[in-house]
């Protein structure tokens, strides 16, 4: 019941804020804040409830499940379930929802009701994606999350918003269609061999397939998730979408939507197609390593603050892909950790970009310079999150990246060495960001007011979480192994055999 509520609250909250805006301008943001607040409280309550259960080493099962008939004729059911990884991602979604409402507070003035409607529905879709265990339902939520995001970019975005939003839509919808085909193919293959028509995750888990069929269907899923994650060379929608989206859109895109791609790889691609995924893993890892380096390299080349941060996402998510396909406890723990830590640190960098854009009406770093003397608090926060992004120990990203590196070393020491080059490249781009924006002399004569209380609360809480994740990451790591356990044990061992 709670699982349904997690989605329903956001859906209802979205509709309410849309309507409320007509009755009373300014009410929408308060309603949206209340909605994500309730969502966050609920998610954290669930987390605290299950924290003790998750810490047990032998914990394999699911923390909650709900199943109802939906379209029985086609074997479609309303099936939600939650394990550690979905729980932790729902908490992240709720928290970043809160952040994105806070950072839209003054930025969004026009059609605020419709904006918050889109925001909350995107979040609802994302939560649904993290909970759905019926492939048809999953696809439904997948679409639900994209359309409102398209509107957010197209309506409230910056200069090139139309180009960016349509590019986003085509890449993601095109690949989504591919996934739909792959889902149908999987269901039909399952039907042919067993005579049961079902979209249920658990029933499809051990579908018997010929190796080539398995590989093709797996590729359909993989490409859909690869576009979303994104994996190089499918990343080219991301810099445009992230850059042109309003601040809240960028935060949600980077913090939550990219994670749905990685989550898909983790939940569906490897468990549903263990053999094919094992066979394909070297390619996927090579692409991941390429993304790690290429993203870090291109981030350095950017002059647009948001575009730089967008490319760092390509790099960080490359680590996640490496962690998932190296598939051992360390790398998976690292991948989950990296997903969460990246959500917070990159989200914070987008919030900072939004604050700068709201005050200066530009994102061009060539026009900043020397902002430390003008806005010391903002600059200190910028420095903090740039350092978090480069993976300094003591902050969340390091735990993720180091665990991934260590797990990856077991799978392939060569790829680990290649990926490690990003440790240096990330310092290069992060320090370039700090230098171009905050250090130097204030040659452009900016006179700006420093962080407001609302902005401080947002950024300080994100900074505190980053430190907490870096120094005591256990609550998040405890959530991760459940995923490693969820596919049948045989599958995992087979998979590892393939890797070697």
């Amino acid at each position: 019941m709670i699982l349904t509520a997690l989605i329903f609250i956001l859906v209802a909250g979205g509709l309410l804020s849309w309507m409320a805006d007509r009755w009373h301008p300014g009410a929408a943001k308060w309603l949206a804040l209340a909605t994500v607040g309730v969502e966050l409280v609920l998610a954290i309550w669930l987390w605290l409830q299950s924290a003790s259960a998750m810490a047990l080493p032998a914990h394999v099962g699911w923390l909650g499940e709900i199943r109802a008939e939906w379209i029985p004729r086609f074997g479609v059911s309303f099936h939600l379930a939650m394990d550690g990884i979905s729980l932790i991602l729902v908490v992240l979604t709720a928290f970043l929802g809160m952040v994105s409402v806070a950072c839209s507070w003054t930025e969004i003035q026009e059609r605020a009701g419709f904006f918050y409607f889109n925001l909350l529905w995107t979040l609802a879709g994302a939560v649904g994606v993290f909970l759905a265990l019926d492939l048809f339902l999953f696809f439904f939520f997948w679409e639900l999350m994209l359309v409102p995001m398209y509107f957010m970019i197209a309506i409230w975005g910056h200069e090139k918003r139309l180009y960016a939003s349509i590019k986003f839509f085509i890449f993601v919808e095109g690949s989504g269609l591919l996934m739909l085909v792959a889902i149908l193919a999987l269901v039909f293959v399952h039907y042919r061999s067993t005579g049961v028509l079902t979209f249920d995750y658990f029933e499809l888990l051990n579908t018997a397939m010929s190796p080539s069929t398995e590989l093709w269907i797996m590729l359909g899923f993989f490409i859909a998730f690869a576009v979303k994650t994104p994996i190089v060379p499918f990343h080219s929608w991301l810099p445009d979408a992230h850059t042109e989206a309003p601040t809240a859109g960028s935060v949600i895109l980077a913090g939550v939507l990219l994670k749905t791609g990685a989550y898909g790889l983790l939940r569906f691609v490897v468990p549903l197609f263990p053999e094919a995924a094992g066979y394909f893993a070297p390619v996927a890892m090579a692409l991941g390593a390429a993304g790690v380096l290429y993203g870090a390299f291109l981030a350095f080349a950017q002059t647009d603050f948001k575009r730089l941060v967008a490319y760092t996402s390509v790099s960080h998510l490359g680590f996640v892909v490496l962690g998932i396909f190296a598939w051992n406890p360390w790398s998976l723990g690292g991948a989950v950790m990296q997903m969460i830590a990246h959500g917070i640190s990159t989200g914070a960098l987008f919030v900072i970009a939004g604050i700068l854009q709201e005050r200066t009406h530009t994102r061009d770093m060539r026009r900043f310079e020397g902002l430390w003397s003008v806005m010391p608090r903002l600059a200190a926060m910028g420095l903090f999150f740039a350092i978090a992004a480069l993976g300094l120990p003591g902050m969340g990203n390091f735990v993720g990246e180091f665990l991934i590196l260590m797990g990856l070393y077991r799978a392939s020491s060569v790829l680990a060495s290649v990926a490690a080059v990003a440790f240096v490249a990330s310092v290069v781009y992060a320090l370039a960001l700090v230098q171009k924006t905050f250090h130097g002399e204030n040659t452009h004569g900016w006179q700006l007011h420093d962080l407001s209380g609302r902005e401080m609360a947002t950024l300080y809480s994100m900074a505190a979480i980053t430190l907490w994740l870096g120094l005591y990451p256990q609550p998040v790591l405890d959530a991760a192994p459940n995923t490693a356990n969820s596919p049948p044990a045989i599958v995992v061992s087979q998979h590892q055999a393939n890797m070697e």
Binding site: I223, L392, Y472
Partner: protein
């Protein structure tokens, strides 16, 4: 006292937090009290712990403390935990005491700086990270301190952020050391993958039990750790960041060069000496790197005009001595020199700071001169520091530590006479370059008048100078050669943590001859400096008129062209590639591929493959042509849609065929 161990790193970190969060609301006085007080307390606790440790002798001569498990996944569970033995005790004493003196000095030295609170916040973070580094009980937690130190060097070198040059030097320090750190991270991955733990003590046990001497894994692991050490300790080939690190305020240089940061690499190798002993080629590499670095940096120091750059190259050179000692298995000699070096190098920087400030930020030694009378405190302390650096016999600490290294390089099983010659030649260089500075700055004619309004340095500057000067003189008397009493307090103390070097040549006569040679090197080089820079300065001038010599001097002065090499080999290509690809080639490929295909189709049609007789076909073709050119809209979204549709079709065929 021992259970208070955790407070040593925690106090400076707490000081950092207070200053970082509330620094803008605090008065300068409270900032100074918090910043210096936190380090003072932690130094005090370190001293009390040391007394307790020596008196009580805890079981196993080690003390362990665990705060919480940091990361637990599968069998990987590094802790936030501390480990105290003789080695880390010596290190933590040096770090906290010297840092405290530098902090005290800074309270007066930085008093007029607008970023007073920010300065002390960063300094505290620096000390806290360094304490974590030396006290960590596992390599991952050590790595946290290791990276924290790197970050602080970036923050402090670029402390005066308004000048982009400072930013450049700061980034250089962080990036260059990070190259070594990355290798070290891979080394940690290797060690854990093959040995299943990163806790230093069990790890070293497993290393000795599971890996035979000279095994490939041991060599690889040691080489990766060495890369990390080379970066942090500014040894060849990653030494280029340290001379530029002078961009920071002078107390920062003192902190980086004496108490924190550059000693980290030496400590790491000493800490994991069991691993290095199993990898003879790597250990030889350590010695050779040390020998080469101490010579190259010595020559570079000789060609500098900037007083701080002389000291910077001198640090690189002295750390080279420590590497040389580590390379021949003289672990305790390396740490002994680390300690005495911390005293006299901090002293040299701090007194140089007084000189520079009195002359209004004048760094050029050729514009100084005759300052002996005007700045007596700076003169005497700088002289003592220089004497100690030049290993002036009997009275200075540097003499005892450097000669111990030279003797062990000669006598140890892994040493040889070539390495000794390098070390000895380095000793001549050392005395020569540092007394060049002494004679140019404090003797001769005054080339810049000391401004009248210059205040005499206050107590908060004088006290640290006097204390450090005393330590630079007396700090060596705890370890003396056989013919001078044969005290071995230091090596006995650290013996449990650091085994003594294997000695193969143990002749008393040899040792006396070598000591005499070393003494001759020290005295001779000082005399030479006196002759060339004070007595007959025209000789050098006339030498420099010879173009070849002038060019050599320039080459040495530029640090043997390493910067030039890296600039052309790595930085420029990277910048160029980044600029060339700033619009993301992959994004362009999507649109290019489609438009090229369409253009090709157009061409076929233009050359008219289809006969005119089949006019119906021609009509159809014309229709197709129009349809296709309509698709060539130049809009990426259409092209992407086409790609998507195509891929879906292929998947369909694959699945259902």
């Amino acid at each position: 006292m021992l259970p208070l161990l955790w407070l040593i790193p925690t106090l400076p970190l707490a000081g950092f937090l207070m200053l970082a969060l509330g620094g803008s609301h605090l008065s300068r006085r409270s900032v100074a009290v918090i910043g210096t007080g936190s380090v003072a307390l932690s130094a005090l606790i370190a001293i009390l712990i040391a007394i307790d440790f020596i008196a009580a002798r805890p079981p196993g001569l080690a003390f362990q403390q665990e705060a919480w498990v940091w990361i637990a996944t599968a069998d990987f569970s590094p802790k936030i935990g501390f480990y105290l033995d003789a080695l880390s005790l010596v290190m933590v004493l040096v770090v906290t005491v010297v840092s405290f003196l530098i902090h005290l000095y800074s309270t007066e030295f930085m008093i007029n700086d607008e970023g007073y609170a920010r300065f002390f916040a960063y300094m505290n973070l620096f000390v806290g990270s360094m304490c974590i580094l030396v006290l960590a009980d596992n390599l991952l937690f050590l790595y946290l301190g290791w990276e924290g130190v790197g970050l602080c060097s970036y923050l402090l070198i670029g402390f005066w952020y308004r000048d982009p040059d400072n930013g450049r030097a700061a980034r250089k320090a962080f990036i260059v050391t990070r190259i070594g750190d990355t290798a070290m991270a891979l080394g940690l991955s290797l060690l854990f993958t093959h040995l299943g733990t990163l806790d230093i003590q069990p790890l070293m046990q497993r290393v000795t039990q599971q890996w035979p001497e000279g095994s490939e894994l041991a060599i690889l692991a040691a080489a990766l750790l060495l890369a990390g050490a080379v970066g942090k300790s500014a040894q060849l080939p990653l030494q280029t960041w340290l001379p530029d690190a002078m961009a920071g305020p002078t107390p920062v240089s003192a902190l980086i060069h004496a108490a924190t940061m550059v000693t980290a690499g030496v400590y790491l190798i000493a800490r994991t000496h069991a691993l290095f002993s199993l990898a003879p080629p790597v250990q030889l590499a350590v010695a050779v790197i040390g020998a080469l670095t101490l010579l190259l940096a010595g020559f570079s120091a000789l060609a500098q005009k900037d007083i701080k750059r002389v000291l910077a190259y001198s640090t690189i050179s002295q750390i080279g001595y420590m590497f040389l000692a580590l390379g021949v298995g003289a672990w305790s000699a390396a740490i002994f020199h680390l300690m005495t070096h911390a005293f006299f190098k901090a002293l040299l920087f701090l007194s140089a700071g007084v000189v520079i400030r009195s002359l209004h930020e004048e760094h050029n030694i050729f514009r100084m001169g005759g300052l002996r009378k005007k700045l007596p405190v700076a003169f005497w302390t700088f002289l003592i520091g220089s004497a100690s650096l030049a290993a002036l016999p009997l009275v200075t600490a540097g003499f005892y530590s450097k000669d111990l290294i030279l003797w062990q390089v000669w006598s140890s099983a892994q040493g040889n006479s070539w390495l000794w010659v390098a070390g000895w030649a380095g000793a001549i260089l050392t005395g020569f370059y540092i007394f060049r500075v002494v004679f140019l700055v404090f003797f001769g004619e005054a080339r810049t008048a000391v401004p009248l309004e210059t205040k005499r340095p206050g107590l908060r500057i004088t006290i640290p100078l006097v204390v450090l000067a005393t330590l630079s003189l007396t700090g060596g008397w705890i370890e003396t050669p056989p013919f001078l009493g044969n005290l071995t307090l230091f090596s006995d103390f650290v013996q449990h943590a650091l085994p003594p070097a294997q000695v193969i040549h143990d002749g008393k006569n040899d040792q006396t001859i070598l000591e005499l040679l070393a003494i001759a090197a020290s005295l001779g080089s000082i005399a030479l400096a006196y002759l060339l820079f004070l007595r007959y300065p025209y000789f050098i001038h006339s030498l420099m008129l010879i173009p070849v010599l002038a060019r050599i001097r320039k080459f040495w002065g530029s640090g043997w062209g390493f910067d030039w090499l890296y600039d052309n080999l790595i930085i420029r290509p990277y910048l160029w590639l980044a600029y060339a690809d700033r619009h993301d080639v992959i994004d362009n490929i999507y649109s290019m591929a489609i438009s090229c295909t369409l253009r090709w189709l157009q061409k076929i049609d233009r050359h008219d493959v289809i006969d005119n007789i089949y006019s119906g076909l021609a009509e159809l073709c014309l229709f197709l042509y129009r349809a296709l050119s309509a698709t060539q809209s130049g809009q990426v979204r259409r092209y992407a849609a086409a790609i998507a549709a195509g891929s879906i079709g292929i998947i369909f065929m694959g699945v259902f065929a």
